[in-house]
Symmetry: C2
Subunit: 340 residues, 2 copies
């Protein structure tokens, strides 16, 4: 059982020095591209490195430097995220690009099971990364506790749970985006515009309603807002049914999410009305729902790559010792399809 790996010993800086007939210090200087190494020494060292097959040991370097040039990227609840949400990949790439420019390595750590949580927490606390980016953080979690306790430079994508001491966070501008798409709906000639608002107990839900109200200004009519509890298809369908009964003359609807919008379209079609001829519908998120409806949804797209890049920028700033903004809000794009 478990036989000793007996991995052939790796060459060290010492072996190179011996082979090249110089000292450890000189080899170290050559490897790190410092000044003050003679041409003769350089050649000897180059030959020696090639001969013994030397590669620097990063673990040893990390230990003495107290720095790793690496940033962790933590993904929670990967099943739902990876499979359904195309955004996570974009966020990942956006962050990687920015970190790469700053010559930092990004290590994605996946938290799936309970075991993962503790192991990742150990990994972070072990000094293997200088900072960390966290998406969809959970409220009471060993990972976030470790980040807090060690004051590990961190940036959250989305609102962090609780007060984040040494962390910034980057979110999308829900208010602005909601206002923007509502305004565009008005510009297409819609006069009586309603909203199926969802999850008003959460920031995102409340903000989207606020943006809707802001865009309409004086034209805002409380009676045309139908609140539903969840960002779901069925909630959207039921909410839209109620809204149509109350206001049959509606000609435009802003749904708080694509799933809600898909439900709303279903409800509209039930009454014999057509989308977008009778009623224009817009959603939010540009999720998979947006392409499943007929016609396809006009909706708000998150700047996913931007979220990742911005989170990376915030972490890098903290790494330099700066104190960046605690909160960054990003604007969203609108994708115009057939539904409005």
């Amino acid at each position: 059982m478990t036989t000793k790996p007996t991995r052939s010993k790796r060459a060290t800086v010492h072996d190179v020095a011996l082979e090249a007939g110089v000292s450890r210090g000189t080899v170290s200087r050559y490897v790190n591209g410092e000044r003050y190494v003679s041409a003769a020494a350089r050649e000897a060292i180059e030959a020696a490195i090639a001969k013994v097959g030397y590669v620097p040991n990063t673990a040893a370097r990390n230990l003495v430097m107290q720095r790793t040039q690496a940033v962790g990227f933590i993904v929670h609840e990967p099943h739902s995220l990876f499979v359904e949400d195309p955004n996570i990949g974009e966020i990942l790439l956006g962050a990687n690009t920015r970190l790469s420019e700053a010559d930092h390595q990004m290590a994605v750590l996946i938290v799936d099971t309970e075991r993962d949580t503790d192991r990742v927490a150990r990994y972070l606390s072990g000094g293997l990364v200088d900072g960390v980016i966290i998406v969809s953080a959970r409220a009471d979690d060993p990972v976030t506790r470790v980040v807090d306790r060690l004051r590990l430079p961190a940036a959250y994508v989305g609102h962090p749970p609780g007060a984040a001491g040494s962390a910034s966070f980057v979110v999308i501008d829900n208010v602005g985006a909601a206002a923007s798409i509502t305004r565009r709906l008005m510009e297409t000639g819609r006069r009586r515009i309603g909203m199926v608002a969802a999850a008003l107990d959460r920031d995102s839900g409340a903000d989207r309603l606020a943006g809707f109200r802001e865009a309409l200004g004086d034209a805002f009519d409380e009676a045309l807002v139908e609140p539903v509890p969840l960002y779901s298809y069925s909630a959207g369908r039921d909410g839209m049914r109620r809204l149509l009964e109350r206001a049959p003359d509606l000609d435009g609807v802003f749904a708080a999410s694509d799933a809600v919008a898909a439900g709303a379209i279903e409800a509209i079609k039930e009454t014999g009305r057509s989308v977008p001829d009778d009623i224009g519908v817009v959603g939010f998120d540009d999720s998979a729902w947006a392409l499943r409806t007929t016609p396809a949804l006009s909706t708000v797209r998150q700047p996913a790559a931007g979220l990742g890049a911005e989170a990376a920028r915030l972490v890098l700033a903290r790494l330099r010792g700066d104190e960046p903004a605690a909160e960054v809000r990003l604007d969203c794009d609108i994708v115009w399809r057939g539904s409005a």
Copy 2:
């Protein structure tokens, strides 16, 4: 510029020892749960750890242990992969689950730009991971070179480029899957079954044709095979047009990929025939194409999570010093939708 981080010094095992009035060795034994630490010492150490806020430094441990309990997971060409291919997420999770069970940390490293390549190669060679899983490896790449040169325990998902020294690889059973779906096509009553074969110069393409031939046995007819160069929509459409001219009495088609199948369906509809009533069509991959066609494609689904899990198993075996199979072939599932 770049002010010193001045991070408050982390507590070490030495600080704990001082605080608890015992020696480093005893603290180390306690932390690692070894035998031979008295109740009195244990209590003192626990209190001391809580007081000074000690967390073990993994970098130092890695250095002396020559082992990290971590495995790298390398993703090439992430743009196309993450955005279009849902499989990559599943592979990731499958691998993570298996590694997690073995108490190993998985670190996903993304190779996007040229800079990434070198940095990741450095990361791997630095001894920060014990082994590595590589998806979609490229032919001549610093990463694969490092893996080869250091004889880093590795497992490839898909065929590795060139001869892989210390590596295994895991692939899907193209022959078996092709035979299987062809057989199912026959069972639905199709009599004259053709194939739009693609990329016969690649293993995957040749194997899928071989499976097709195997399933048909004596009923195989060379004339009903139309080879096209690429796994593309347009190649599928053009190939199917030719095939239909040559064999108008066809009632079933196996397309070498979903994209090819989508093109084939287009060509079939051009002639006024219907799918699946006149001609049944099956594809391969269960990609996004499969749901875009009308009717939706019956196709072969890769056991993505299984690929990841198996790759993880192979790496773990090598880590233990075993010499696992050089190649592992996994069976595929068939998803039966409307197209056949």
